[in-house]
Amino acid sequence: MSVNADLRKERAAATFQPELLTHILDGGPERTRRRKEIEALVLNDPDFQHEDLNFLSRSQRYEQAIRKSSLMVMKLREYGIADPEEIYWFKSFVHRGRPEPLDLHLGMFLPTLLTQATPEQQDRFFMPAWNLEIIGTYAQTEMGHGTHLRGLETTATYDPSTQEFILNSPTVTSIKWWPGGLGKTSNHAIVLAQLYTQGQCKGLHAFIVPIRQLGTHEPLPGITVGDIGPKFGYDEMDNGYLKMDNFRIPRENMLMKYAQVEPDGTYVKPVSDKLTYGTMVFIRSLIVGDSARSLSRACTIAIRYSAVRHQSELKPGEPEPQILDYQTQQYKLFPLLATAYAFHFVGAYIKDTYHRISGDISTGDLSELPELHALTAGLKAFTSWTANAGIEECRMACGGHGYSRCSGIPDIYVTFTPSCTYEGENTVMMLQTARFLMKSYTQVTSGQQVTGMVSYLNDLSRQRIQPQHVAARTVTVRINDPTSLVEAYKSRAARLVESAAKNLQAELNHRRSKEDAWNRTSVDLVRASEAHCHYVIVKLFTAKLAEVSDAAVHAVLTNLCLLYALFGISRNAGDFLQAGILTSAQITQVNQHVKELLAVIRPNAVALVDSFDFHDVHLGSVLGRYDGNVYENMFEWAKKSPLNKTQVHESFHKHLKPMQAKL
């Protein structure tokens, strides 16, 4: 079928070449080419075809996922794909952006072996795991504890007489709960437990624990393992529980590259724990990238559909307009589109910085790691919260049809939304960033200079020479200039960091304990972190503009960057007004300019989502199809619904007919 006329018209009217923007997002034309090559490899492979997952039960979805994962591992090796990003693409195309039961094996079990196992342990476990004789998961979270790791209750008690660790789940709350692939798939787990040796608790350590019999796959004696039941999405994943009763493993199963327990029970402390920061930074950078991608997918669907859907009238007597021509619709969607681009650039920045610093780790320079660690915690929370809300907004912008699973947005939402919680609950993450900000603020007030993204705090001490504080500083903000807006965001962050620091000090002056004072200031602290992250994002987006050489692409990205920055000011006008950074009159101008930008971006809206370059199969949406033939395909899709398998549903004979006979 041909492409819908509305979409054809939209694409013809674009002022730039979408491929050029795609290259920027991918990191160069060569990366785009390779991504598409891998995409074709997967999408043209008959082994990876299956029925629409929306019509399958949870068990069937798990089964499909396991089938595809098995083939995926085999084919990755067959094709010799080894680059982590290329593996990520391959996996993402096979599973269409959904989780799969081997995620934890590939993403946590194998890497943990590489980084924390001794050479001897690697010999024993790595090759079997590589060859999938061992399938492992990473069992950290318990029913009673998540982000607060020190509170975990599972115990591993060393018995020198047999040279074994005895693993126990002493309470209901200590049952391992949530690890992916634990319920049905894995036969091993890396278990985090409190280590007890010579009568002392030595804190959390990692142990390799076999949980199912090789061959029969039955749980081993002393092990209770199963699936935790249905969730909000993640149907393909067998998130599991694990309960251990006096389960013994040899001493050599403790991961001992760093900390060690000697045969007699003597505990040898690890040298440094800074290295574990690295993994967390890496995973959080993936979540920032995921925020960008998930929001991009939702925007693609909502914007294409809004160009196809016609409704009501704008001008009396004229045909119904595309709903994308309504200001309210633009106001919902275009700021999100700008946000998706902003987050792409932030994700790329963190990834690059991480690679640069991890280069330094091997050469010994870890000085930038604490800041990056603190920054990524906040950015993970900021981007996942924003993307989460944005996906929902996209869904609602599609009206009733957005609510149907055929729109694909419900699936994007349920797959993405847990990232607000996993890998560090968002509020806790914001408070980690706040801790770094407070530390930096204290450094500045005691006369030291700080560097990196927080260097704006240095200005605070310079201000102190004058009687006025930072809030009263007058900045001449030019609302058409991204660089000037970066300054405005910087002032806002400085003001909120300072205000939180002062409130914290005031609580401490009331002679409250440090923890209590911190808790009583935590709402302020979260706001300070948010303002800091917001500043970083606007700054990175603005910096990206300088790298764009094509004039047309530069123009369209500049408008998006302006929209992102101005919309944020409009939404948080109170912060800018209260700090005296902008006047009421300027806020009115900002609001007006936001609306003008909506009209400016409108002709490029479809081209801007085309640039994300999602294949229809990957997008999984009837509303967001590239060809825009929405209604015909909704009908085709619905006919496959399980309720339509028979013309007369069996409940007619079972319930309806008897009732009608009786009444």
């Binding site: 039960s57 199963g226 909000f232 919902k332 996993y422 968002n426 006008a573 912060d575 899709w637 009732m659």
Partner: protein
């Protein structure tokens, strides 16, 4: 009495109450039972509601156990079974329609559209039509649906494309779906259950279009349930929720129905094809108003209150990290950030409960007036019901999601009950009028009233404030002043007037500068939406404060409600400071006072958080949540329920895929 209430709430207790939850109930500053009675509208209402709920929950047919493990087909079948059983039960017990039974069933029942079918015949049908169809429907000789929305059109009714062409020769209407976007799409109960439907179509007589009209149409055989000739119908496929409902599609191909099947209270087609309009069309608006107001309580506030109950109870059971070194881990509700997520939701639940009472009362007065053929109240009622439908559904939907995420990882388990509450409530932002469009309708009313008020003409009571724009400043001197309703009501009023008057001025400017009226309107819609929201927020705050004024001072009720009212008002300012700082009505220093008072209130309300959700009086069965039950045995229940999951039976995936994978015999696949 107290013992009874506990037994009622607890239902199926596993054992003793978790001490962390029990201790919260020891220190309530008010009488929970009295607050429940207040919410129900009197102790007698509470008694009746509990009796109905108990009758339903003790009946195994209505059980919702294992619901989270069921497929779409199983959910549908259970809903049909319950609907059939409910008819029997109501008959036996002598219950009347629209009692608490729907709430007790948590809406998991089929044939909800049957009621809409009956109501539309009652409202839109002639006496003769009512006499013919209503008895058949009451006895369930037929099952009705209501087919309005199409693939291509929803809220904008004039755009519907289904046609009904009158054929004078045979005295029939010929119904057609002329193109794919004209297919009826979404009507509940239509995919599998309904035998009849009220279908909306463009009426054509002698080639002339007379606009949208309702017709009664049979779609399935009353004998074997097969589709009637010319009809294609089925289920529209899986959705985010409402799996128990067979939302359907309907395609019509030259289906003929007799002339008498057009619902003709207001318009009639005579045998010769003459079109006659009779009576006032305004009553149609009244039907929409009725539906919008009635959904607030059952479809929005009930799930919102359930979510608050689950999240708050769980937050005193869950302990995480330490607030003081050396002490036990703290209840997560003791963290300020957790309070800041949940307690404003609790305050909003109470605020909107009272808003709903206000709307109901206004509605009842309007209804009485309409019976006296006085339609004067209709525009105000329409504006308020549209605006509040949008504001309340939007706020509560966001609120349920906040509750879900405030429960950490366990919130994402279906067993927490929160995902289903969320996916269900969020549909309310779309159905019965898409929220943005509804807010623009309220805004249209506001602008009209503002112009009238500025010209010195009389306006309805809820908008008289628009005439009284004061240019003063907020008089608060310290943070305690912000606990005075006069101060914050005035601030809300100021913001609402400013937004409305600025938008009106902008509209006029544009029109005067030569922009066409409709273009000017579109260019101001973002601001108009904000003005409509500010108006509703102002009314909600004012109504809450006025309600508190009138409450009994005994048993601590008024005091705690005053705290919640303050919190509701200050949270609104705190989370939208720009609207209040703009034009300098509130100063930067005053905004710091607002923040301070707001944060102080969190700590005050924290102490009563559990009693405040207990007062909602949900049974454990009704909550159907492993995290939110009355006894707080969270972890035990989570573990027991998970073991019942069908995924814990051996999966065929092992033999088929895992085994070959583990045994390295992949190549055989």
């Amino acid at each position: 009495l107290k013992g009874n209430a506990v037994r009622y709430s607890q239902g199926s207790a596993l054992g003793s109450v978790n001490p962390d939850l029990a201790s919260e109930r020891q220190t309530a500053s008010f009488c929970v039972e009295r607050l429940t009675a207040l919410l129900d509208g009197g102790a007698e209402q509470t008694r009746i509601r509990r009796a109905v709920v108990e009758a339903i929950e003790s009946d195994p047919v209505f059980s919702r156990e294992n619901q989270y493990f069921q497929t779409q087909n199983e959910r549908y079948e259970a809903a049909v079974r319950k609907a059939v059983h409910l008819q029997k039960k109501m008959h036996e017990m002598g219950w009347t329609e629209n009692g608490p039974e729907y709430k007790a069933l948590s809406g998991d029942v089929a044939f909800l559209l049957h009621r809409v079918f009956m109501r539309s015949i009652s409202v839109l049908g002639s006496d003769k039509q009512v006499a013919k169809w209503i008895p058949l429907a009451t006895q369930h000789k037929l099952i009705g649906s209501y087919a309005q929305t199409e693939l291509g059109h929803g809220t904008y009714l004039q755009g519907l494309e289904t046609t009904a062409v009158f054929d004078t020769a045979t005295q029939e209407f010929i119904l057609n779906t002329p193109k794919i976007s004209a297919m009826k799409w979404w009507p509940g109960d239509m995919g599998r259950s309904a035998t009849h439907t009220v279908v909306f179509a463009q009426l054509y007589i002698h080639g002339k279009c007379y606009g949208i009209h309702p017709f009664i149409l049979q779609i399935r055989s009353l004998q074997d349930h097969s589709l009637c000739p010319g009809i294609t119908a089925g289920d529209i496929g899986p959705k985010m929720n409402f799996e128990h409902t067979d939302n359907g599609y309907l395609l019509l191909k030259s289906v003929r129905i007799p002339r008498e099947n057009m619902l003709s209270k207001f318009c009639e087609v005579r045998p010769d094809g003459t079109y006659v309009r009779q009576g006032s069309q305004q009553i149609n608006y009244f039907t929409m108003t009725t539906v919008r107001i009635s959904l607030i309580s059952d479809e929005v506030l009930t799930p919102f209150m359930k979510a608050c109950t689950i999240a708050i109870r769980y937050s005193v059971v869950r302990r995480q990290s330490k607030l003081k070194p050396g002490e036990q881990e703290a209840k997560i509700l003791d963290y300020q950030t957790q309070q800041e997520k949940l307690l404003p939701q609790l305050a909003a639940a109470y605020a909107f409960h009272f808003t709903n009472n206000y709307l109901q009362e206004l509605f009842n007065r309007g209804y009485a007036e309409i019976h006296r053929k006085n339609f004067d109240m209709l525009p105000e009622l329409h504006a308020l019901s549209s605006g509040f439908k949008a504001v309340i559904t939007q706020h509560c939907t966001a609120g349920v999601e906040i509750c879900l995420r405030a429960c950490g990882g366990h919130g994402y388990s279906l067993l927490s009950g929160l995902p289903s509450l969320y996916t269900k409530i969020l549909a309310s932002c779309i159905y019965e009028g898409e929220n943005t469009i509804l807010l623009l309708q309220t805004a249209r009313f506001l602008i009209k009233c503002f112009m009238a008020a500025s010209a010195g003409q009389p306006v309805p009571p809820s908008v008289t404030y628009l005439a009284a724009m004061k240019h003063g400043k907020c008089p608060a001197k310290n943070k305690l002043d912000f606990l005075s309703p006069d101060i914050y009501i005035e601030a809300y009023q100021h913001a609402a007037v400013r937004l409305t008057s600025n938008t009106a001025a902008k509209l006029q400017d544009l029109i005067q500068s030569g922009v066409k009226k409709h273009d000017a309107w579109n260019q101001c819609t973002v601001q108009l939406v904000q003005a409509a929201k500010a108006h509703c927020h102002y009314i909600a705050v004012k109504n809450f404060a006025e309600t508190v004024e009138k409450l009994e001072t005994k048993a601590g009720i008024q005091k705690i409600m005053k705290h919640l009212c303050d919190l509701f008002a200050l949270h609104g300012i705190f989370s939208n400071t720009g609207a209040f700082l703009h034009d300098g009505y509130t100063s930067a220093a005053q905004m710091d006072m607002v923040t301070a008072s707001y944060l102080d209130l969190l700590a005050v309300i924290r102490k009563d958080a559990v009693p405040l959700v207990d007062a909602f009086d949900f049974t454990d069965k009704c909550l159907n949540s492993a995290l939110g039950s009355y006894d707080g045995q969270v972890y035990q229940r989570l573990y027991e329920w998970a073991q019942k999951s069908p995924t814990n039976q051996m999966s065929p995936a092992y033999e088929r895929y895992l085994k070959p994978l583990l045994h390295n015999t992949l190549s055989k696949l």
